[in-house]
Amino acid sequence: MREWIDHLAATNELIGSLPRGFLYTIGIALGCTAVLLFVSLFAGEIVWMERRVAGRMQARIGPNRVGPQGLLQFLADGVKLLAKEDVIPAGADKPVFLLAPIIVFAGAFAAFAAIPFGYGLVPADMNVGLFFILSISSIEVVGVIMAGWASNSKWAVLGAMREVAQVVSYEMPLAISALTVVVLSGTLNLTDIALQQSGGIWNWYVLQSPATFAGFFIFFTAMLAALKRAPFDLPEAESELVAGFHTEYTGFRFAVFFLAEYSGMFLFAILTAVLFFGGWNSGFGLESLLSGEAERWVGALILFVKSCFFLFVMIWVRWSLPRYRVDKVMYLCYKVLLPWSVVAVVVAALQVLLFSALGWSR
């Protein structure tokens, strides 16, 4: 972000004449607004995408009436949700109940601060980007537990309990499988990780080592658990717990939970594309044909298309696989994903040692 503003100030006289601190403040405020707007609107479109894909997988069509091909369906749904009565259940812990959706929303959106949408298109280019994203996105869980506990409902409490049990089991394989890439790249900065994957498709980290190849599948599985999506949607489990932790939420508060869930999907889709699938690099040298701003925005588009693909895979998984039993989730996370992710990190470390001993670059 800062680099970009500097670049703009250097090239444009009017912008360059303004004081730099003012420019940064305005730039950051505008950037945050743009990211928030884009992510909120796109989260709505992910809902549409999910319903259309689910429809096709069940040999039906899905919403196609509101707007072209149903693209504006989420607006109609949003207006409907805003018109609903705002119910706070009797006996609910009111302050916690009201705070929970805010925390879920903040946790889901704060993580976008470190997400690179393209080269230089990152709101805050921090050197601990990956660590920041993984830790901030976990704050969402606190909101979920608060929502479940404060609702004074059996379903909600059961959902929150399941979420607690799930979070302690998926967090470790999620972080450790992301470490495979960090071990190879030697940085937590997502921009640097994406830059290291420029060039051909074989430079993408998923094809760099068997460790990252396995790491990708572990990361993706743990990610589905982190997003509370099927087959790991135990905390909301419609068929068992009505709606789990957000059973008692109505209207706008429910919409906030929904929005946070789908923007979390977008977050992790971009993260997967950046970590394992070359970020904004097309993989066949498209960038070398372009330069400057065009390269930046085409790169952003490529990253967007890649993240859309991962969104599709997430939706595909959701409409294919049935929900896991609670103990099976524990089994999968502790006994399968965790040991294999540790093995993957060790293999990645050995590869780095071996390559440096042989004098190869990666």
Binding site: M57, Q58, R60, I61, S320, L321, K335
Partner: protein, 153 residues
Amino acid sequence: MGYFRRVWQGVRTTAKGMKITWDHFFTKPTTIQYPEEEPYFSPYERGIHEFEPDKCIVCFLCAKACPVDCIKIEGSPGKNAVLTKYEIDYNKCLFCALCVDPCPVDCIHMGQQYDLSAFDRTKDVKIDFTKGEGPWRTAKTSAEPGAGLRLEE
């Protein structure tokens, strides 16, 4: 089952399940976009009746056969039969086609018209077939007269 076999089976069955939905993703949706597309009906579909007032000899056999008494006929029977009213109340009609069989001149049969929606329950749902076309028969989806297969054929 051993640990490794269990992990392998998990991977294998997941891939198998994903394959099934992937194949279904490319099948044609079975949905019929109702107002724009017309659903297919069997030739034996029992929709709203088709009635030919010129043939009718006012014998009241259809009204007698009707199990719910939804056919009201006014007119004079006989050699020079005059039919002044032939009204079917679709509030009551259960589309059993029992009125079709007894007709000696084959003037009533079941049509293909499936769209039974109407705005006024007291007026629109009763059709007097002597007064030309009822509200449904003028609808876009109205099948051609005689399209319904006559049951005795």
